[in-house]
């Protein structure tokens, strides 16, 4: 955190606003999403390669947003936001990755009977 200021417009959170940075964040995200759409609509790749390609483009878009829109860096004004984000990202990955892995294992061992009625939570 930074030192107190009498004029709120002098605060680093206000001063960090930058037209070129916001426009760069906007354009880079648009270009990356258009590239992802192109890969999706013209793709001839196996699913795993396709998914890695799209995930890589999404990761690039998220990094550009973090740096250019949110303005995250290691400056005194932003360091704790950056640290908290870095510590939270593994939680996202663990939560999504492990849950999908668990349910994929469940699905692989679930026997589907032909003409089986759909069970409900009340049955």
């Amino acid at each position: 955190m930074s030192a107190p200021r009498s004029n709120p417009l002098d605060h680093p959170e206000v001063r960090q606003a930058s037209a070129w940075r916001y426009m760069a964040g906007f354009i880079s995200t648009i270009v990356l999403m258009q590239a992802a759409l192109y890969v999706t609509t013209h793709q001839q790749l196996p699913f795993a390669e396709y998914a890695f390609t799209i995930a890589g483009l999404a990761l690039a878009a998220l990094l550009s947003q973090a740096a250019l829109l949110f303005g995250l860096d290691i400056s005194r004004a932003q360091i704790w936001k950056s640290v908290s984000l870095v510590l939270t990202v593994p939680l996202f990955i663990l939560a999504v990755g492990l849950s999908v892995w668990m349910f994929q294992n469940l699905a692989a061992r679930t026997m589907i009977m032909p003409n089986m009625p759909q069970p409900t939570l009340l049955q």
Binding site: H11, E13, G25, T29, M33, T40, A58, L69, T110
Partner: protein, 208 residues
């Protein structure tokens, strides 16, 4: 020398007028931590969507390839990113105390957010009209909840902007108003981040 107050109901951990505290930084960091916890809600919704996006959870109904359109999704991407850019550029005008510039950015941002919500409502209402509502299957429940939760965030963001359109001319750029504008900028940029994940995961990879 520090004065230590005895603990009790009247104890204040944060004195709003103490010069040693930077209120705007404290508020923005607190709101940032709130947004990270909000992101964990979306994490749970993405997990549910990933698990339920298969024919077994569709109850013979549609799944992603039948109901999402990647090109329409790109238009929504333009709208939400344009809205975020408009608001963010409005906060550039905040540096010079330009009320008109800030309010113009907010108004443009609201208009583009309404365009985004129009596309989203069109999609969801179309599914409902075709009998594919959220109670049709586990997959559709996950789809509606994930997409509508993001839409609900957009609605709250628009309401917040409307409040700021009233507060800027009446209260000016006081410390409280500036902190709210900065937090709103983070909140709005966060919506673009979540939308990128929704677009990539639901509209692209999930619909492979």
């Amino acid at each position: 020398m520090a004065i230590q107050a005895p603990p009790g109901a009247g104890t204040r951990l944060f004195h709003p007028h103490f010069e040693g505290h930077d209120q705007i930084s404290a508020r923005t960091l607190g709101f940032w931590l709130y947004m990270l916890s909000d992101a964990l809600i979306f994490t749970g919704l993405f997990v549910a969507y990933a698990v339920l996006n298969n024919p077994m959870a569709a109850a013979a109904g549609p799944i992603a390839p039948q109901i999402v359109n990647q090109v329409e999704g790109l238009w929504q991407t333009y709208a939400v990113l344009g809205s975020v850019a408009a608001y963010s550029l409005g906060t550039v005008a905040l540096k010079s105390g330009n009320k008109g510039g800030v309010m113009l950015g907010i108004v443009l941002s609201i208009l583009l957010a309404l365009v985004f919500l129009y596309f989203e409502a069109h999609d969801l209402l179309g599914l409902l009209a075709a009998g594919n509502g959220p109670s049709r299957s586990g997959y559709l429940s996950a789809f509606f909840v994930l997409v509508a939760t993001h839409g609900l965030h957009m609605v709250f963001g628009i309401l917040w902007m409307l409040v700021m359109l009233v507060q800027i001319p009446t209260l000016g750029f006081s410390a409280n108003v500036v902190a709210r504008l900065i937090n709103l900028r983070m909140f709005w940029q966060f919506q673009a981040t979540i939308w990128v994940l929704v677009y990539v995961y639901v509209y692209m990879i999930g619909a492979f």
